[in-house]
């Protein structure tokens, strides 16, 4: 503000000075008008107080002139000066208003532009919202459909569970309330209870399989598999059933190895399911398991000479619990889930499944899975008897596998060819273990515990310890037969138990059970007791060898124990000379399937997939020697 006043002060004082000069210079009244423009020019950019000041100075000057007697000029000039001052004030105001308007206008323009931008933004957002809304309502509809499908599925499950339950409940009540049944009827009813509970068990198992596949919790362990192995595995399981029904079961094994991308266990299950359906629905004729190699896919097919499927049923038979009803004289027992499980498995593998059928002529089920683009190892790499390393030369291999039996299988297999091993039940445990024990190589199970895998991998990175991740399936009789002579698995069934006891046929019937699980031991005791075995329960304690010697069993069943406990039990049993040659049977939590086939992928992606135990050992040797 002060600066502003200083700026115009000179021009304010210039005007009266100029007028005084002009007047006293004798220029006379004709010059009086000459300095108006000058004054106007000087004052135009001045603020109103300055203009007033200028006007007042002139007026005062001329009033002074008039008093001094020269009234002529002053009388003319006074109104002009006042007029000019007013004019200047007005134009100043007008300029001020104009500039205010211009300012407001530009602000308005800016606001308008902003508004336009906002409005564009709004319409864009509203479009986004609409899209989101559409997606949401679609998702909602899909969820609603899924929900009602789920409800329908649950109702179906309840229905399917009730049927076998009805048999079990009504026959057990009959057995309990009618005391006068003859032995034959009694037996018949008990057999119904048994077969219906078996049916219930199968249903529950199939349901669990289906849930596992659906929730994706058990991702398939897809690796490179030779198609011939899948075919052979399926044939091995189904041949006896086909023979029993007088059917000819033939297969078509490709002469050259054909690598397919498959989870061995799952695809074998598909083949077995299809073959088992074919056997069920064919009363005479033959069943063929065939194979065709395409450019990108391999096709397996199961053809039968059975009843065939009515047109229109071809799609439905893959639905859960759908059963062909009308053309089968005796409805075969089944969960009604087999084909939907097959379909799910095949689809997860990226393939398709379909059926072609003619009533009275038979059906052909076929499914495809992708070929594996890579080199397949030779079918029969001979397993070397012993590793070329002498003891002490190579430090142990660490095996990280959660499942005890799987872990033992792998460890025993490796120990069998001369390696020493450590076992760890989890990646956490493995991380602890490597701190204290030198390890040369790690074989870990591909697990859900990605973080654990990463931690272990980074912990051993500096040492350069090779780290293999593996998927594998186990059929223990081949590989831990060193320790055990047989297996029984839960839920226990009479036939399965008797089969396990087969070697004891010769009237030797004393069985020792070592178990810490009272339920497991009670059921075994009961089942074996009914069959006339003399059973005794022995605890895993220091008295174990003595108890065993006293009882003198013809077979020993070892219940479910952790691996370390199993090791101590086995070494305790080995110290009892009387037990030499006595079969040891191990209880497994579930039925084993597949071989101990390592379908293993080394940690790095560029390396070849390992397939089978001997290629794995080959890979281990290479990794260690490097």
């Amino acid at each position: 503000m002060k600066e502003g006043i200083l700026k115009f002060l000179p021009s304010v004082w210039l005007i009266p000075l100029l007028s005084i000069c002009l007047y006293s210079g004798g220029a006379g009244s004709q010059f009086r008008f000459a300095f108006f423009p000058l004054m106007a020019l000087t004052s135009l950019r001045l603020p109103p107080p300055a203009i007033l000041l200028v006007g007042a100075s002139f007026s005062a000057f001329y009033a002074l002139m008039a008093l001094m007697g020269d009234a002529s000029g002053a009388g003319d000039l006074l109104p002009v000066t006042a007029e000019l001052t007013a004019y200047l004030l007005t134009s100043w105001c007008a300029a001020k208003v104009a500039s205010f308007i211009a300012g407001e206008e530009s602000r308005f323009r800016l606001a308008e532009t902003n508004f336009q931008g906002l409005s564009n933004e709004l319409s864009r957002r509203s479009m986004n919202l609409q899209a989101t809304l559409d997606a949401l309502s679609q998702a909602h509809a899909r969820l609603q459909r899924l929900d009602s499908e789920k409800t329908a599925f649950l109702a179906k499950i309840a229905h399917e569970i009730r049927t076998p339950l009805t048999g079990i409940r009504s026959y057990s009540e009959i057995l309990l309330s009618y005391g006068d049944l003859d032995r034959e009827t009694e037996r018949e009813f008990m057999e119904v209870i048994q077969s219906e509970s078996l049916r219930l068990t199968n249903l529950v198992n199939d349901l669990l399989d289906l849930i596992k596949i659906e929730t994706g919790k058990h991702e398939p362990a897809i690796g490179m598999v030779d198609a011939a192995e899948l075919i052979t595995a399926g044939m091995k399981v189904m041949q006896p059933a086909a023979e029993k029904r007088g059917l000819e079961l033939t297969s078509d094994i490709p002469p050259e190895p054909v690598a397919v991308r498959a989870d061995r266990g799952q695809i074998t299950q598909v083949i077995i399911n299809l073959l088992s359906n074919a056997v069920k629905f064919t009363s005479r004729g033959s069943i063929t398991l065939g194979f065709r190699k395409g450019t990108e896919f391999a096709e397996f097919f199961v053809g039968d000479t059975g009843e065939g499927i009515f047109p229109g049923e071809e799609e439905k038979i893959f639905d859960e619990f759908y059963r062909v009803l009308d053309n089968v004289p005796e409805r075969p027992a089944g969960s009604g889930l087999g084909l939907s499980i097959c379909k799910k498995i095949v689809e997860i593998h990226g393939g398709t499944i379909r059926v072609e059928s003619r009533i009275g002529e038979g059906s052909t089920f076929s499914f495809t899975i992708p070929l594996f683009n890579g080199v397949l190892h030779d079918r029969g790499i001979p397993l070397r008897e012993k590793s070329r390393h002498s003891p002490g030369e190579v430090r142990p291999i660490l095996v990280v596998v959660r499942n005890t039996v799987k872990r033992m299988c792998l460890r025993k297999s490796l120990e069998n060819v001369g390696y020493s091993t450590y076992g760890a039940v989890s990646y956490d445990k493995a991380c602890d273990l490597i701190k204290y024990s030198p390890i040369d190589l790690i074989i870990g199970e591909t697990a859900d515990d990605r973080a654990g895998v990463e931690t272990l991998a980074s912990a051993v990175q500096d040492e350069g310890t090779p780290f293999f991740l593996a998927h594998f399936h186990v059929e223990p009789q081949e590989d831990i037969s060193i320790a055990f002579n047989g297996y029984i698995w839960k839920p226990f069934e009479r036939n399965q138990l008797l089969q396990a006891m087969e070697p004891l046929k010769m009237g030797r019937k004393r069985i020792a059970i070592i178990s810490k699980n009272s339920e497991e031991s009670r059921i075994l005791q009961m089942l074996l007791g009914i069959e006339g075995y003399q059973v005794t329960l022995i605890g895993n304690n220091t008295r174990l060898p003595i108890s065993c010697t006293e009882f003198g069993p013809n077979a020993v069943i070892i219940g479910t124990y952790a691996e370390e406990e199993l090791d101590t039990i086995i070494s305790a049993l080995k110290k009892v000379p009387q037990l030499a040659g006595t079969p040891l049977l191990l209880v497994l939590d579930e039925k084993p399937h597949g071989n101990l086939r390592l379908v293993s992928a080394p940690h790095q992606d560029d390396k070849p997939l390992i397939f089978g135990l001997s290629p794995l050992i080959h890979e281990i040797e290479r990794a260690i020697l490097k």
Partner: protein, 126 residues
């Protein structure tokens, strides 16, 4: 026409066998059928007093047969007891609409089933 006490209609042989067993033990005359069509033919032949009916069966389902038996025979139609695995309320309502006298779900207790038959047949006599 021969009069029979009970006709059991179910496609599960075990269930037919269990029901036949308890009813014969209790001294009733009993006939069986494995599907709706067979049951309809038998009904014309033997005029049962009580029909035990499963719902889901090949050829003709239980609803259909129930409606048919009730409309064809009027007041002389047999008592119909639905014995099914479908335990939802809507199933019960549908069965009652179709004219069923009783709705029982599987798994059933043989004793309860027997009591129900006793009651129905006693009410006929009374």
């Amino acid at each position: 026409m021969r009069e029979t006490d009970i006709l059991v209609v179910d496609d599960e042989p075990h269930i037919v066998r269990a029901l036949s067993f308890i009813f014969s033990k209790a001294g009733y005359d009993i006939e069986t059928a494995r599907n709706g069509e067979e049951a309809e033919a038998k009904c014309r032949e033997i005029a049962p007093k009580v029909v035990f009916l499963d719902l889901i069966m090949p050829k003709m389902d239980g609803f259909h047969l129930c409606r048919q038996l009730k409309s064809a025979n009027g007041s002389r139609s047999p008592h119909i007891i639905i014995l099914t695995c479908m335990g939802q309320e809507i199933d019960r309502e549908n069965c009652m609409k179709a004219g069923a006298d009783e709705f029982m779900t599987k798994p059933f207790s043989p004793r309860e089933v027997l009591e129900r038959v006793h009651q129905l047949l006693a009410s006929d006599r009374g």
